[in-house]
């Protein structure tokens, strides 16, 4: 753990799991580094994956639904969950 002190700006890792038809766009899992909050995450994903901005989905951080901008921590898991209509 010593290197933590030597390198205070340690890389922060965010795990993203993707559900439903968003997988067609993003794949099933993503790992991204150094993202401070969910708004930044959305901006980065929208730029990298055109079409995502048009998709309807909700976001959960560490298994809790989030609506406003939410801070992310190292090893946070973000779930992107689209609306399903089928019955």
């Amino acid at each position: 753990m010593l290197h933590l002190y030597r390198y205070p700006k340690l890389k922060m890792q965010i795990n993203i799991i993707i559900f439903g038809q968003l997988c067609d766009l993003l794949g099933e899992n993503l790992v991204l580094e150094n993202i401070a909050d969910t708004d930044s995450l959305t901006a980065i994903l929208n730029e990298k994956y055109p079409g995502l901005a048009d998709s309807k989905y909700m976001m959960a951080v560490d298994k809790k639904l989030v609506t406003g901008n939410t801070l992310l921590n190292n090893k946070s898991t973000v779930a992107l969950m689209p609306a399903f209509s089928g019955g």
Partner: protein, 376 residues
């Protein structure tokens, strides 16, 4: 309704710890409304009837078709063309003649929803479209009824209990806390477009029945203010905690009168009106020959098109193939008109107003049907 319990029929569940005769009595007194007797509704109805729910209502205006049978397990080939609500009630009556089954072979609308739903304790959403889902959600809030939600797509399903309050002052989550506004038509694919594994609504509909029985009998830990997602391919079950948002309350009609004036179909369809053309207008455009027709279905999807020339570019590859589009008028087609709407939206984002972009309403299936009729 018979007020005595058949000990023999319910013996195996009545001997369960925490269930007993008291649990069975609660089921007998319960009134549950199942909206949609399709992929989710069929298994939910079967298990609820078998478990001895005293009164079950079934709302469905549809008739049974052959493409229903891979997942809607209450029906057989002999039921094709007959109303689902009545056929389902017939099967359930044979399964358990001791319960009361009430059928509503009509479409749930903002006019009849409140009066139909008001007579029940718990509402189960087994519908297949967003406009009805939002309408049921809002009606449950106005009527103060718990909603057992279930929805499926391809290989994944969602289950949750919304609007369940132990006392009226409590805050409860509703569907709009997850998705405040309905997606526009075409933003999310339905089962006819995206496909669904038959066993998936079987699992999710059965889970809806299970959650309903837990709510009624007070056993276990129902999915109140939580949503479970289940993936049939990798068996991943992912549960998240949900929270009520004060802002979403503003989106719910403030009273029953406003509800009856809310056009739920329109909320979901305004994007469609912008792009859709019907079969006749499409034929007129074909006659001008100065158009590009793009089929955004996958390469092997049937029926094949031989009647006019077109490019085939699956929806996922559309963005990388836009340079092939030369004409100023573009008509996009797919199976039933859902993917083509998505494509129309994508192309409009690229071309803006420099091209006229249309989506064939009802897709190639409807176009072929209409032309087959004209041949007769």
């Amino acid at each position: 309704m018979n007020n005595t319990i058949s000990y023999e029929r319910y013996h195996r569940q009545m001997i369960l710890k925490n269930f007993g005769e008291a649990g069975q009595q609660k089921l007998l007194k319960a009134k549950v409304l199942v909206i949609g007797a399709g992929g989710l509704g069929c298994p939910a109805l079967q298990y609820l009837a078998a478990a001895g729910i005293g009164t079950i209502g079934i709302v469905d205006d549809d008739v049974v078709s052959l493409s229903n049978l891979h997942r809607q397990i209450l029906y057989s080939v002999n039921d094709i063309g007959f109303p689902k609500a009545e056929r389902a009630a017939g099967k359930l009556g044979q399964l358990n003649p001791e319960i009361t089954i009430i059928t509503y072979p009509e479409r749930l609308t903002n006019q009849n929803a409140l009066s139909i739903m008001d007579a029940y304790d718990i509402i189960i959403d087994g519908t297949d479209n967003f406009s009805t889902r939002y309408m049921i959600n809002d009606a449950c809030i106005l009527l103060n009824k718990p909603l057992v939600y279930g929805a499926v797509s391809q290989y994944e399903g969602q289950v949750a209990i919304f609007n369940y309050k132990k006392n009226p002052a409590e805050e409860a989550v509703n569907y709009r806390d997850l998705f405040p506004n309905p997606p526009k038509e075409g933003e999310v694919l339905n089962c006819a477009e995206a496909g669904v594994l038959g066993v998936l609504p079987g699992i999710i509909g059965t889970m809806q029945a299970n959650e309903t029985i837990k709510l009624i009998t007070g056993i276990g830990k129902p999915l109140i203010n939580r949503m479970l997602t289940f993936n049939t391919l990798n068996n991943r079950a992912y549960e998240i905690e949900l929270f009520a948002s004060p802002e979403t309350r503003l989106l719910i009609p403030e009273n029953k009168e406003v509800f009856k004036e809310t056009d739920y179909d329109w909320l979901c369809s305004s994007i469609a009106e912008q792009y859709e053309i019907d079969c006749n207008s499409f034929d007129d455009l074909l006659a001008t020959s100065n158009i590009d027709v793009i089929d955004v279905r996958e390469m092997d999807e049937m029926p094949a098109i031989e009647e006019f020339s077109f490019y085939q570019v699956p929806l996922k590859k559309l963005q990388e193939n836009v340079s092939r589009i030369q004409s100023d008028t573009v008509v996009i087609i797919c199976q039933s008109g859902v993917r083509s709407l998505q494509a129309a939206k994508q192309l409009t984002a690229i071309f803006g107003t420099s091209k006229k972009i249309f989506s064939l309403k009802g897709g190639i299936i409807q176009w072929k049907q209409q032309h087959a009729k004209q041949m007769l």
